[in-house]
Each structure stands twice: as C-alpha cells, then as structure tokens.
Amino acid sequence: MFDLRDLYQQVIVDHNKSPRNFGKLEHYNHEADGYNPLCGDKLHIYLDLDEQGRIADVSFEGEGCAISVASASLMTEAMKGRSMQEMQAMFEAFQQMVTADIAEAPDDDTLGKLAVLAGVREFPSRIKCATLCWHTLKAATEDSGKVVKTE
C-alpha cells in the first residue's frame, strides 16, 4: 500500500519547515502571483532574468500547505542559472511526473531532486499544490500580470 511517507518525505518536511529562497529579492525584473482557490494557497514569485534570458535569481513568498511550500522551495533551488529552454523542459518533466501512472518512474535525469515530489500523483486533490509554483514562475517569465489560478 502507498505510504504517507512517500508523499511527506523528509526532504519535503524539511523544505516546508525552512523554505529556501523565501522572501523578496533585492533585485528582480519579473514577478507574478499564484493562487489556489481550493486551498487558499497564495504564492508570489520574484524573478531576476539576466541579459541572456537566464534565471540569475528567483525567490518566493506566500503561504500554503507543505506540498506547495516545499515544491516552490525546491523549484527555486533548481532554477537558478537555468535558461528558458531548460526551465520549460523541467516544467514539462515535472508535470509529466505528477500526473503519470504510479508505475512510471520519474525522469530523474531531468528532474534531479525534484523527483521527491513524485508521490503527489497518488493524491489527485494535491497535484495542484505541487504545480502552482511552476505555473506562477512561467507567468512571471511571460509577465502576463494575471494572477495564476490552479482552477
């Protein structure tokens, strides 16, 4: 049987307790809001893109469940120094992972540490918690100015 610890792995619990890259960036040139109406999770992403369009720095603020906070924390960690193409590839791999069949192994090569969130796919009502930060990051890169909603 699927164990709760597969969802709430120690890495996730740790990132929830002390999220990385939490707070406003000193310098940023893009930002976006994300909101999950079901949970009331709120997220704000600050993004600093350099001249080549690479992610020089990224941070987040907000409140949410452990899955959404840990996902944002892990995502910001993984995104620093990435190009837009790399970000897009990771976003797609991440989405594939959290919606895939339980038997399918996550794409560790692309996802690295982010693979700890694979357990989310066993909890359909929580998938949006894990993907909110990604949609918000994408919105920040596009500067759409719209609040991203998960529904």
């Binding site: 709760l4 009331g40 409140e63």
Partner: protein, 406 residues
Amino acid sequence: MSFDVAAIRREFPVLHQQVHGRDLVYLDNAATTQKPKAVIDAVSGYYAHDNANVHRGVHALSERATAAYEGARETLRALLNAASTREIVFVRGATEAINLVAASWGGANIRAGDEVLVTEMEHHSDIVPWQMLCERVGAVLKVLPIDARGELCMEQLDALLTERTKLVGVVHLSNALGTINPVAEIIARAHAVGAKVLVDGAQAVAHMRIDVQALDCDFYVTSAHKMYGPTGIGILYAKEALFEAMPPYQGGGDMIRMVTFEKTQYNELPYKFEAGTPNIAGAIGFAAAADWLSARDVDVLADHEQALLSYATERASAFGGLRLIGTAAKRATVLSFTMDGVHPHDLGTILDREGVAIRAGHHCAMPVMQHFGVPATARASFAAYNTRDEVDALFAALAVARDMFA
C-alpha cells in the same frame, strides 16, 4: 427516548466500509451528512413504483407522484412549524433559496441607499447574492462583526440597524465556527426598525428543533442534504403575506394559471415560485429525512452530538499545539481548528489515509478566515451516528500528523 448509536449506525449503509484499509470515520457532516436507508429507499421506491410528472397527469402514477410530492411539502411544513404549506417552496437548496429572496423580494423592495445587514460569519451564499443585489440597485451592504470567540458582537447590533435597513441575513448555526446565534433576539430588534430577517438554517435543522412561527422570522432557508436527505433539494419558507406580494423568480410551466401572448396570470402559492418540473424524488427523500429526524427526536440526537463535541473539545485542549477557531458559549456539531506547523490541507490528506474524513479549507466563509488570520482551518463535524471511539480515532490520526511534521 433512549439513544442507541449502534442501532443508528446500522441504518446508514455507507458507514460500513474501509478507506485506505481503515474503518471509515466520517466527520465531514457539515459539508453533507450521510443518508439512512429510509431516505435511500424512499427515493428508489419512488422511481421503482410511482415515477410520473406532478400536477398535470390524470393517470394513476401522476396522481401518486403528486400526492407524494405534496405530502412531502406538508411533512416539511410540520418540521418547521410553518402556518401553511403555501409558505413552503421547494428549491435546489439554501443557496437557491437565498438567491430567490434577493432577486424577487430584494429586487422589489431594496432601493438605492437602502441597507442590507449580514453577519461576519455568513456562508458565501448569504453574502454574495446580497452583494450582487446591492451593486445592482445601489444599496449598501453592512456587516455585524464577530468577536474572538466567534460570537456576534450583539452590542453593536442596534447601531447597525437603521430605518434604512431593509433586510438582515443571519446564519442560525455557523458551518465554520459552530456558533448558535441568538436569532430570536436579532429578529425582534430588526423588526423594531421595520427590517425583514432571513435566517440561514442550512446547518441548523439537523441539530435543533425549528419553529418559524415562534422565531417570527420572515424567511428561513435550508438544504436537505445536511439533514440526512438527498442533494439538490431544499426549502424556502416565507411568511405568506411576503410570498403573496413577491414577483415570481423564474417563469415557466407550473408557475402559471393562464398564459396568452398578451398576459400571464401566475399560479397561486406556493406554485408561483416553482417553475418547471421540480425535483420530485428529492422532495420525497427530503420528507423521509424529516420523518427520520422526528421519529428519533432531534433533541435526543443533539444531546448525543453535544456530548461528542464536549469530549472532542476536551481532547483538543489536552492535545497541545491545536488552536480552536470558534469557542462560542453556545455551539453545536463543529470543531474547527488549526495545528501549529501543519497546514490544514496536509492534515486533511494525512487524516484521510488514517480513514478519517474531515474538511480542510475556508468552508465558504472566507471573511471568518480573515477575521481569525488563518488561510484555512481543519473542521470535524459530528452527526447522530458518530461515536466516542471515532473522536479517539480523530485524535490518534492528528497525532500521526504531528509526528510526521515533527
């Protein structure tokens, strides 16, 4: 009347199952209650034996369906102690009932500069229809605040009631806090300035005896699914004189007496407000639920639930790290709380894996969440079939959650 919870539980087929390998502990009753066999059988029996459209057929089945549907109306009249079945309109639920009042009565009686007063603990369904109306006609929506315990600030009521106040909307039993409001007193004071009062009884009817005549409320709304009945059916009670004067809400079949292209004569009460083929099976199931409640005596059920709530409150205080949201002196069924360091949604997921169903979220009462400065709460809510062992199961599961995040 003696109370035998094991016997009650046997009447609810859905309770006897396992989820994630654990015995189901269903504590999400404020969202919707489970249904006893009497209700399930009434609905399926109607479809199996009597199904026909109402009020129009001359054949045997239609006569039976009409008798059952109108019989249901009489059962619900008696449950609320309304003066007449002309005051009982079937609707989809509490939400539709409030929208009907806002559109029909509100549209006819609320003008620019008038005021609607609601409380800070209303469900969104008793806020948004009034907000929409106020925006449309240029009226003002005012709010009676709550205090730190989740009780209404009654000392502010008289200042908020003015000669401009046309309607007061108040929840009888709060789904987010469990607070039982002093509605009779609010009604008396509102009437003193000439305002009408709508009482949202969506949660109340399953947990207390209702007497709309004793309350002297102008409107009372409720949903069957929160009192052991089916979804998709509810009632709007209004004093007959109000219903008489109100314009129809929706137009269509059944609500008319005579139609020509020049003019339509509306049907008499309550049919004026029931356009189209109604939820016949729902009404029959609703009446079965009302009969079920009455036969077991809602006061006896409420005593049992109150004992569970007191026990759960005690255990919560002893648990450590739990903050109760809603500690009113008069409270029923609802234990709303947050846990230090664990978000309500994580609690909801962890408890579910332990077989315990609770609700995590804003409970359609975002202003209450804002008042207490929390994004969401976890909520356990008790019904007649819950047991002390299930309260223990809840706290055992909460301990699992606490350890997981330690």
